[in-house]
């Protein structure tokens, strides 16, 4: 398909601007003007609409297909969220206004959204307070581990340089801990898919700042030792961090704060139904226990005695400014709408149906795909194509075969500790009919491993492009037109 730059024709315009109503003036000297104009497209608005509409049809989205990506919680994104996020009262609000004298009065509605969302999330997660500032999940992780660092620093406990991280963790956990100045120590997973308790006990010591645990874990399993794990970490003076990427599995059923965690992040773009946007923007609020409240980032949203909302900065122990303002407000607003729609009584229905749907797929596929761990799963089931790989069909071939059958593939090759991994997360918003069709497609693909493996190697053939040469892309870099 043509690039927008190839459609461009000199002299075409796609927009109109107001006429200059003041004398023309150029405040810079000739030598500071750019020598060659930026080579931006010259197209009509119609050209642009055709181009981008056509591009959009070369994408699979949640609204077009079942999208059972494990660990990503691709649940439905309700349209009322998009509607409220574009209300001019929010979309046109300058973030610096509340920092002006009398400016707070200009943004009471927005501050209330932040304040209320913080309170509702604290209630759902079982923590004392939370911050909406982190701009993504991994940004939330970084904020969380920086809070852990600030806690130990405030106690002048300089020895604590080690962050314990299970080997099943997302790559962001060790990367975030490193940016917060920690050394990472890996804890292995036991044969049931839980944290290896003996290895954990071995790794704990006075140099441990904390442990980052994804709960439920990335194998889609609930580690029933989680309370004990938090206790052991506390016993040596460390703090327990909960990576809440998989919170959809327990929302309304368990509160991580009640399990013994000290700090956690969640992804609004997973559990709280805000769109993934093709890779962002997301939002990764962080919740903490009372003892960690002083370290939360500034500014903080507060409610004064007169009922007015405002911002406060006077928190000397705060880790500081992790974002320019108050978080990805447009995303937070969508999550706020979701929370109001779901309501108190709806919370547990989310996790119940997410877990039910995942186990339904797990059981139905059991005769055809080996489970990585032979247990009841939570919101996602982790399968392995190891047996198929022995016959020459790998997880990636199954994934590409699914594309031709009209489904987005599951997450593949993660977690790294499972060979030929296929991780399926249906979410609670999918119907039984959709799951049945997906199961049927997966079974057909499993049968094709014996009957027509070549078709799987050739897949996909029905997409806008066939398999792409990633090695060539990395070797002969072509990063712009």
């Amino acid at each position: 398909m043509e690039l927008i730059y190839e459609i461009s024709r000199k002299g075409r315009k796609g927009s109109t601007l107001p006429a200059l109503d003041v004398p023309e003036a150029c405040p810079v000297s000739e030598q500071m003007l750019r020598s060659i104009p930026a080579n931006l497209p010259e197209v009509t608005e119609l050209d642009a609409m055709r181009h981008f509409t056509k591009l959009s049809t070369r994408n699979i989205g949640l609204d077009t297909q079942f999208y059972p990506l494990g660990s990503c919680t691709m649940k439905y994104n309700p349209k009322l969220h998009e509607r409220v996020a574009t209300l001019a009262g929010f979309a046109e609000l300058h973030p610096l206004w509340p920092q002006l004298r009398h400016g707070g009065a200009m943004s009471q509605g927005a501050l209330e959204v932040l304040y209320e969302t913080e309170r509702m999330l604290s209630d759902i997660l079982g923590f004392s307070q939370c911050t909406m500032q982190p701009l993504a999940g991994s940004h939330g992780e970084l904020t969380g581990v920086m809070i852990i660092a600030a806690y130990h620093n405030a106690r002048r406990d300089k020895r604590r340089k080690v962050m314990l991280i299970p080997d099943a963790a997302h790559g962001t956990n060790p990367a975030s801990a490193t940016v917060a100045g920690f050394e990472c120590r890996t804890i292995p997973t036991d044969e049931r898919g839980n944290v290896d308790m003996a290895a954990l006990r071995e790794a704990l010591g006075p140099e441990v700042a904390g442990l980052m645990l994804t709960a439920p874990n990335t194998l889609g399993l609930f580690d029933s030792n989680v309370r004990e794990i938090c206790r052991l970490v506390h016993e040596v003076g460390g703090l327990a961090y909960c990576d809440g990427a998989n919170f959809n599995a327990i929302i309304g059923r368990l509160r991580p704060g009640d399990l013994g965690f000290d700090v956690m992040h969640i992804n609004l773009h997973k559990t709280f139904s805000t769109p993934h946007g093709g890779g962002g923007p997301g939002s990764g609020p962080v919740a903490v226990v009372e003892a960690l409240v002083p370290y939360l980032p500034i500014s903080r949203v507060v409610r004064f005695d007169d009922g007015m909302f405002g911002l406060r900065y006077d928190f000397p122990e705060s880790i500081g400014y992790i974002a320019p303002f108050y978080g990805n407000f447009g995303i937070i607003l969508r999550a706020y709408a979701y929370l109001l729609t779901v309501g108190r009584e709806g919370l547990v229905r989310i996790s119940q149906n997410a877990v039910l749907n995942a186990n339904y797929i797990r059981v139905k596929l059991a005769p055809y795909y080996k489970q990585a761990y032979n247990r009841f799963c939570m919101h996602e089931c982790v399968l392995t194509a190891e047996e198929h790989a022995k016959k020459g069909v790998k997880a990636i071939d199954i994934a590409k075969g699914l594309l031709d059958k009209g489904f987005h593939p599951p997450t593949m090759y993660f977690p790294l500790i499972v060979h030929e991994c296929l991780m399926i997360e249906p979410t609670e918003t999918e119907s039984k009919e959709t799951l049945d069709k997906f199961i049927e497609a997966m079974i057909e693909l499993a049968k094709m491993v014996d009957t027509d493996p070549n078709a799987l190697h050739e897949a996909p053939i029905k997409m806008p492009v066939r398999r792409l040469d990633e090695a060539l892309a990395a070797r002969k870099l072509n990063l712009h037109a």
Binding site: R58, G181, G277, G320, G343, L356
Partner: protein
């Protein structure tokens, strides 16, 4: 109502299929124990009608009808209607990260086109697929400078946005990076002091162009001096201005970052925004964030993939270039559509409107008794004036009269309580500027 499809009958059948007698049994078998929590703060569910009504009322409590002259890095530019028409296509906004490239050619080609637009606008060779915002991008640029030079000291101009300087300090607190801040002089960056602060341990020098006070400075000779000392030159920029003024690439910068909000993204009370990062070939392999590249498929047909992934956290874990795991993809798409629809000539026109109007307003305000200029540097669409009193008080009085007149510098520069940073975009009319000047005069002297 949590958007669940399963009927009671479905639940019954599915529980039976997986061997559970009821939903409690499901939890037990999944090894989840403990009492169901009681929620104290969560409200009862509301209907769509009620939610929309409630949120509309909240929106009314934000007074967006103020005539805005506040910029300070976050700008109130006109956004063509076509922009949101494209970005509200759910094939774009409901998709995940393009890890399955055959199913994501729309997103991937858009990133490639975005990278192209950023390169041509900034005069750089390589752009990534975007980062969270201008501040996190600037911190990441500093760490990039440390990786490329294998040094751990950064010299930072005091004429960089104080918001971003605060963020860099915050992120650096647990890392062994020495930060050296060089105060600005009036509305100017102190070029010679910045150079004097470089030593043989300095990884990078970080400046802003146009700087926080709006001033445009020529960094061409400066970057050459920085390179002679073995350091990397980094600049945070304002992309709209680059339609008019010399690019960071032309001036020899190694890394350029920017807040891309000015490219068609709503102010939206502080986010989501767009962290722009571009660099030269020397820094490319150490750059953080996603990058999209062109390649071919099995049949030789052109297609796009995420590339150079060996730099990233999902492969390198603790040795990754950054912990970043997403980009601000929909915001990058927004910027691309904006740049496409505004177009090559349109962006130059936006820049001309901004700068001419800014000159006009500055002259109007300087005609008022007691208002003085601060410095006489060339500027783009932002400038500083000095008032005969506390700027915060004037800001307050003007808010009460319907104008957000500007950002008082005293908030971040305690010795400059009488100074105001004022911004003009193409949306401001001659009438609004005249009304502002009249109101200002009345507030000061009546």
């Amino acid at each position: 109502m949590p958007y669940i499809a399963n009927t009671d009958q479905d639940v019954k059948e599915m529980l039976q299929a997986i061997g559970c007698k009821d939903l409690d049994d499901l939890w037990t078998k999944a090894e989840v124990k403990g009492p169901y929590p009681q929620f104290k703060y969560m409200p009862q569910a509301m209907s769509e009608f009620e939610v929309v009504k409630h949120i509309k009322e909240l929106a009314k409590r934000n007074k967006t009808e103020l005539v805005n002259f506040v910029g300070a890095g976050f700008y109130d530019h006109f956004i063509p209607s076509a922009v949101s028409e494209v970005t509200s296509r759910s094939e774009f906004y409901t998709a995940y990260t393009p890890y399955q490239p055959e199913a994501s050619q729309g997103t991937l080609q858009a990133i490639y086109e975005y990278q192209t637009a950023i390169c041509t606008l900034s005069g750089m060779n390589v752009s990534n697929a975007s980062m969270y915002d201008g501040g996190t991008a600037l911190f990441e640029a500093m760490m990039l400078g440390c990786r490329v030079t294998r040094r751990r000291r950064a010299v930072i101009s005091g004429a960089i946005s104080p918001i971003y300087r605060e963020m860099i300090h915050c992120y650096s607190s647990n890392l062994s990076v020495e930060l050296v801040e060089v105060p600005s002089t009036g509305v100017e960056s102190s070029l010679s002091s910045l150079l004097d602060s470089i030593n043989d341990k300095t990884a990078c020098v970080i400046v802003q162009y146009p700087n926080f006070f709006g001033s445009i400075e020529d960094w061409t000779e400066f970057t050459a001096e920085v390179h002679k000392r073995g350091a990397i030159a980094i600049c945070s920029t304002y992309l709209t201005s680059l339609a008019m003024i010399k690019t960071p690439g032309e001036m020899g910068f190694d890394v350029v970052t920017a807040e891309g909000q000015c490219l068609g993204i709503q102010l939206s009370f502080g986010g989501p925004y767009l962290g722009v990062m571009a660099c030269n070939d020397k820094c490319m392999r150490k750059m953080p964030g996603r990058i999209c590249g062109q390649t071919v498929d099995k049949d030789g047909k052109i297609g796009y993939v995420l590339t150079m992934q060996a730099r990233e956290q999902h492969i390198r874990r603790e040795d990754a270039m950054s912990n970043i795991c997403s980009n601000e993809n929909l915001c990058a798409l927004t910027a691309l559509v904006y740049l496409t629809v505004i177009g090559k000539e349109g962006l130059r026109q936006v820049a001309r409107l901004c700068s001419s109007k800014a000159v006009y307003l500055r002259n109007l305000l300087l005609g008022i008794k007691g208002i003085e200029p601060v410095g006489d540097s060339p500027f783009f669409n932002e400038f500083v004036i000095k008032l005969p009193c506390d700027a915060s008080e004037i800001v307050q009085k003007l808010i009460d009269r319907g104008f957000a007149i500007g950002f008082p510098l005293g908030r971040y520069y305690p010795t400059r309580k009488d100074q105001l940073l004022i911004c003009v975009t193409e949306k401001r009319t001659k009438e609004e500027m005249k009304a502002l000047a009249n109101t200002m005069e009345a507030v000061l002297w009546n």
